[in-house]
Point group: C2
Chain length 413, copies 2
C-alpha cells in the first residue's frame, strides 16, 4: 500500500525540492547559426571594427578635402580623375593632391582621400572632374569603427538570440558563442487508456492531450521538450519509461497516474528508483492535490495531474520557474494581465484554488469569465486563456473584483 | 539613364500596387502534425464524440444505480462482483441487476451500469461488494460526447495553430486540415560589397545584416522567408537572382541598390523583366525615398533601402500588411505601444518621417528616446525597439508629447 498523501503548501514543497536539487544553469558553445532562441551567457565583444574601413556614404568623388576649398557653383575647381572604386573592391591607388577617384556608395575610401564630393556637385569631363562645391574633411564618409569599435560590447549577456542578433554578431566577426544550455525535459503520459495523437482510435482508448500541451508549455520557458509518448499503468512500464527519460533529459515530467487508487503506481515505483526518491506527495492546491515531486539520479521528476488543464496549471505554478532559471529566458511580464471577474467564485479555505478563465473585452474593460467545464475536458484547454489563483485563506472572490490572470500563452487582447 | 524618382505618398503607392496585384490568400491541406504555426481556413468539426464512451471519474465499482438506493453506512447493501475493468480495456460483460464490476478512473463503463460507487464507499469481501452509500444515475461518470460532441466546432477558423490545438484536433479524430498557405518571401541583398554572414571577411567587404533581419520580420508576419543571399551590383547578377526568386517565391524583397546613382541598377533591370514592371519608384517617407515597387509575372517585387533599420521600417509600412493578409495571422495589437517622447524631433514637411526609438521605463512611464545614430549603423538595428511616425504635415514633435511607437518585435516592457 502507498503511504498516504501528506499535503503541503506549494512554497514548502519547493523548499523541500531545493534542499535536494538545485536548478544550476549550464553552458555550451554553439556556432552562431545554431544559437537562435538560446540565451547568451556573457557580454559579447566585437572582434573587428565595423565598418572595417572608411566608406563613402554617397556616390561621387573621393577627394582630399582641402583640394576643394573655395569651389562654388560660379568658381568651380578641377581635379584629375585617376580611377573608379566600386563597392566591394579595394582601391590600390593613393589620392595625390590635385587628383580624385570616382566612388560608389559603400565603397572603401582610397588612401589620401578624406571626403566625398557628391555626384550632383561635380561633373566629369574627359579625365577631369569639375567640382562645384567644397567639402570639409570627413564629409560624406563613414569612419572605420564608427558603428562598432573592436572590443565594444555588441550583445549584452542574458539575451535570447534572434536572427537579427545573429546577423549583428556575424557583422562583428563572431563565429561561435557561449550560451545557456536549454534544459531537456522528458514528458511521459502514463495511462493504459491513452493513445498518442495520430494512432488509430481503439475501443476503450482516448487520445493523449497532456503530452503535446506540456511540450508547448516547456518550449515557452526555453526548455527542449522530449515527448516520449504513452506508458501503460504498470510498474514495469513506468519504471522503463522513467529510466529512459532520466538518460536523455535533465528534468522529467510524468502526467496522469498520480491520484491515490488502483491506477496509482507512479510515485511508488519512482520512489524505488533511487535516493532520495519521492520527497513531496500532495500539494495544497486545487486542482493538483495528488502532485508528487521526486529526485532520482540528481534529476527532478514531477508527477503532474492527469487532466490537461490541471497539468498545465500545476506546471505553471511548480515547474515553469525552474525552466526559466535554467534556460535564462525571463518570464514575460505579460504573463499576467489584470481583469474584472465576471462571476463570483467560491473556494475551500486551506488550499490555493486555481480557476481557469476565458478573457473577453467589453466596453474597453478586460473581463475574466470563469470556465465551469471540468478540468477533465479537453476543450477547456483550448478555450481557457489562463487562470486566477484564490489564496489559501480566501473563500470567496466577488463578481466585479479585479483579479490577476496568469496566461497560458500570449493572449492577443 | 534611369527615369527620375517620382515620389508618391505611401497610400498612393499601395493603391497603385493593388491595381496590378491582389494579395489573395491560398489554401493547402496538411497533416495536422505539420500544421503548427499555420492558420486554419475553416471551422473544424469533431469527427467523433469525446470521450468516445462513458468513463468512470473515480476508482470504484460500476453499478446499476437503483441497485444501491437506500444503502448507508449503517445499512449497507451487497452486490455480486463479476470482474474488473482497467483503463484502456473494453468491458465485454454486462452489468445484470444485483451485480457490479471493479473499475479504474478513466475506464469505460460496462453496459447496464450507469453510476460508480467510489472505492472509499464500498468494501470487497470474497466475490461480494458491500456498498455503504447510494449513488444516483450518472454519478461519477463522464458521459460519451460530454466534452466534445461529434459535429461540434472544435477550432474556429483563422486561428494560428499551436501544439495544443493540434492535440485537441487529434482528440477529435482529425488527421488533415485545410490551412492558409504561408506566403514564400524571397530575400535578396544586392551589393558587391556584401558578404553572407559566416563567409570570410575580405578587403572592401562588409557583412549583410539586412537579409537575416528581414527574414525574421517576414517570419513574424507568417511568411516563410527564403534568404537567397547576396547578389552583385550588376544587371546580369540581379536579373539572375530575381528570376530565381520569382520561381521559388510569391513575393520578392530586394534590399540595397535602390538609390539613384552608380550602384543603382535594380529598378531598371527589373522593369525590363516583364509587364507591368516598375510601377512606383520613390516614396514620400524618410528614410525610404528610393523604395520601388514592381510587378513581374503577377508577383510583387519590393525594392527596400540598403540601410538595415530603414529596410525594416519600410518593410513594416509597406510590405507587412500584405503578408498578414496572406498568412491569415493578425497583426498583434501589441505591435504599438504609447510612450512619452524624451527629446524634440524636427522633421521636413511633405514627407512622413520615421524615427527609430529606444524604449525605457522611468517612474512607471514608458519613455521613447530617439536614436541619433544613423540608420546605416548596424548596431541601431539591435538597440532600437521600434519607431515613431511624424506625419506629412508636421515639422516638430515636442519633448514630452505622447507618441505611438511601432515595435520591431515584442518588447518586454
Amino acid at each position: 500500500m502507498l503511504k498516504f498523501l501528506r499535503v503541503v503548501p506549494l512554497e514548502v514543497a519547493k523548499e523541500m525540492l531545493e534542499k535536494k536539487w538545485r536548478a544550476e544553469p549550464r553552458e555550451t558553445i554553439l556556432p552562431i547559426t545554431e544559437a537562435i532562441g538560446h540565451v547568451n551567457s556573457r557580454n559579447i565583444l566585437s572582434k573587428i571594427d565595423v565598418p572595417p574601413f572608411d566608406r563613402a556614404t554617397y556616390d561621387g568623388y573621393a577627394v582630399f578635402a582641402s583640394d576643394t576649398f573655395g569651389a562654388t557653383e560660379n568658381s568651380p575647381l578641377e581635379l584629375l580623375l585617376t580611377g573608379r572604386i566600386r563597392a566591394g573592391t579595394w582601391p590600390r591607388i593613393k589620392i595625390e593632391p590635385g587628383t580624385c577617384m570616382e566612388i560608389s556608395t559603400g565603397a572603401p575610401m582610397p588612401r589620401g582621400s578624406d571626403a566625398v564630393v557628391m555626384a550632383e556637385h561635380a561633373e566629369t569631363c574627359c579625365k577631369k572632374v569639375i567640382v562645384y562645391k567644397a567639402v570639409s574633411p570627413g564629409e560624406n564618409v563613414v569612419k572605420r569603427g564608427s558603428d562598432i569599435e573592436k572590443g565594444q560590447v555588441v550583445l549584452q549577456r542574458l539575451k535570447q538570440l534572434t536572427q537579427t542578433d545573429i546577423a549583428v554578431l556575424a557583422a562583428a566577426g563572431i563565429k561561435k558563442i557561449r550560451v545557456r544550455r536549454n534544459p531537456k525535459v522528458a514528458i511521459i503520459s502514463s495511462g493504459s487508456e491513452l493513445l498518442k495523437p495520430g494512432e488509430k482510435l481503439r475501443l476503450g482508448k482516448i487520445y493523449d492531450v497532456n503530452g503535446p500541451a506540456l511540450a508547448e508549455a516547456v518550449r515557452a520557458c526555453g526548455g527542449e521538450p522530449l515527448y516520449l509518448g504513452i506508458t501503460q499503468d504498470r510498474a514495469t512500464s513506468i519504471k522503463a519509461a522513467v529510466r529512459k527519460a532520466l538518460k536523455v533529459s535533465d528534468i522529467v515530467l510524468l502526467t496522469g497516474g498520480s491520484s491515490v487508487g488502483a491506477g496509482d503506481i507512479s510515485p511508488k515505483v519512482i520512489d524505488e528508483m533511487g535516493r532520495p526518491g519521492v520527497i513531496v506527495h500532495g500539494l495544497a492546491i486545487k486542482p493538483g492535490k495528488p502532485t508528487f515531486i521526486a529526485v532520482v539520479q540528481d534529476k527532478p521528476i514531477f508527477g503532474l495531474p492527469g487532466y490537461p488543464v490541471s497539468a498545465l496549471m500545476v506546471f505553471d505554478q511548480l515547474v515553469a520557474d525552474y525552466l526559466h532559471e535554467l534556460s535564462g529566458i525571463p518570464r514575460e511580464k505579460r504573463h499576467v494581465v489584470r481583469a474584472k471577474l465576471a462571476a463570483r467564485i467560491l473556494s475551500a479555505r486551506g488550499r490555493r484554488e486555481l480557476v481557469t478563465v476565458r478573457l473577453t473585452c467589453k466596453d474597453g474593460e478586460t473581463i475574466a469569465e470563469p470556465i465551469l467545464k471540468g478540468s477533465g475536458a479537453i476543450t477547456s484547454i483550448s478555450t481557457a486563456d489562463g487562470y486566477i489563483e484564490v489564496p489559501l485563506e480566501r473563500e470567496i472572490v466577488g463578481e466585479g473584483e479585479i483579479v490577476d490572470v496568469k496566461l497560458f500563452r500570449s493572449a492577443s487582447l
